[in-house]
Symmetry: C2
Subunit: 242 residues, 2 copies
């Protein structure tokens, strides 16, 4: 059975197979080597994600994923008293929930590569423009998320990763290294453009390549077509997979 | 466990998670409902594909895919005596191999939705241009595939589908309904552009929607976030998945 890499997260994971999405790019990169399995839940925060753990990562699985990305926080960081407050999770609880997720994954498989991804930065102006495009004059006048508060969640995510000895990708910081990140990487101030997806893909694959999960070093599942003798095809398949 | 839809084919399936790819679009369409599993083998013909059947579709599986697309023929139709002749499979054998594949899939699961996809049309000029861009003056002077020969394979594919009572998508015909299909849908005379991928996606999803595999009628795996009471999240999860 081909190894699995699970992408666990919120809408930014759920939408990762749209045009130029980071999940689709990973699927292409691990073609014939590993299956990318998307488990993205739009609108979810870490508190609600905990209810899914036993279902998505059953502890008695004989074939747990070899790697999992955990990409939450954009919803946890929604502000109290604003339009998305129902999704808010306090920072300390967010960190504790991430710890619970990591502990569960390690219990599921002690060798699983775990990569925590921070929420992306927030373009507050972009959020307001997007709300206005949807609701006109009835749109919110102050953003439901701020970049500064999301920074504290991003830092919390990196801290938990260090504390538990797992990998992390700080997308919040990485994206802001580029001039014009607000429109270049974010389509509505929060979700990713094609370029934004590219950043996530490149950062995640960098982590994968840095350990034992480099696609170029993994074997193909079956012979490359150039290795098949057209007059004796059985031979290639006997050697490789029969 | 979430149902699986397998995409079984050659390079046109293997590359279906590149920018705008039809496999990625299917993954997005079945988000939280079914997993799209890509089993694409660049350069393979149906003769070589037979060696993979027992591995990819083991007959003793307790969770066989609910649907499979079978997308071969572009390589089978390579001409004898030209640069890709090693991939050539005679038309009658191609049809017989498709029958073997369908019989195996039905044995794997009698309820599996099977969709045979014909090879796409061939833009012979595009093939020559592509070869020249790679090999310059050393490039082949006559194309290794012709649209006319590929037509006979496309027809053979549709005939086998009818004979065995499974669905088919005639991409060869469908694409040629559009003016300028040669460059609009094919990047190198054979493989698909973003627009070409869109055609395959739309034709395949049309078949899926026409039967019991319409994504809009399939339940979400877990509650939509709007159904979760932030003060009592357990409730939504108890109803839906515990």
């Amino acid at each position: 059975m081909r190894p699995q890499i699970v992408l666990f997260g919120d809408s930014i994971t759920d939408q990762s197979f749209r045009y130029g999405g980071w999940g689709a790019s990973l699927t292409d990169a691990y073609s014939r080597k590993a299956d990318i399995v998307v488990r993205g839940y739009g609108g979810y925060n870490t508190r609600w994600a905990l209810f899914l753990l036993n279902h998505i990562f059953p502890l008695d699985s004989t074939t747990p994923p070899i790697a999992t990305t955990v990409f939450f926080g954009a919803n946890d960081a929604a502000l109290l008293g604003r339009t998305s407050e129902r999704q808010h999770v306090p920072l300390e609880e967010y960190k504790e929930n991430l710890r619970k997720i990591v502990h569960h994954l390690k219990e599921c498989s002690p060798t699983m590569l775990i990569v925590l991804i921070t929420p992306p930065p927030v373009d507050e102006e972009g959020r307001l423009e997007y709300a206005k495009s949807l609701y006109g004059e009835k749109a919110m006048k102050i953003p439901e998320r701020t970049n500064e508060v999301t920074r504290t969640y991003a830092n919390g995510c990196v801290e938990v990763a260090k504390e538990l000895g797992v990998a992390s990708v700080n997308i919040w910081s990485k994206m802001q290294e580029t001039q014009g990140w607000q429109k270049k990487f974010l389509s509505d101030g929060l979700h990713l453009t094609g370029d934004g997806n590219r950043v996530v893909y490149e950062e995640v694959i960098k982590v994968f390549n840095g350990v034992w999960l480099s696609a170029s070093e993994m074997p193909l599942d079956f012979p490359h077509h150039s290795q098949i003798d057209p007059h004796n095809p059985e031979k290639a398949f006997q050697q490789r997979c029969l």
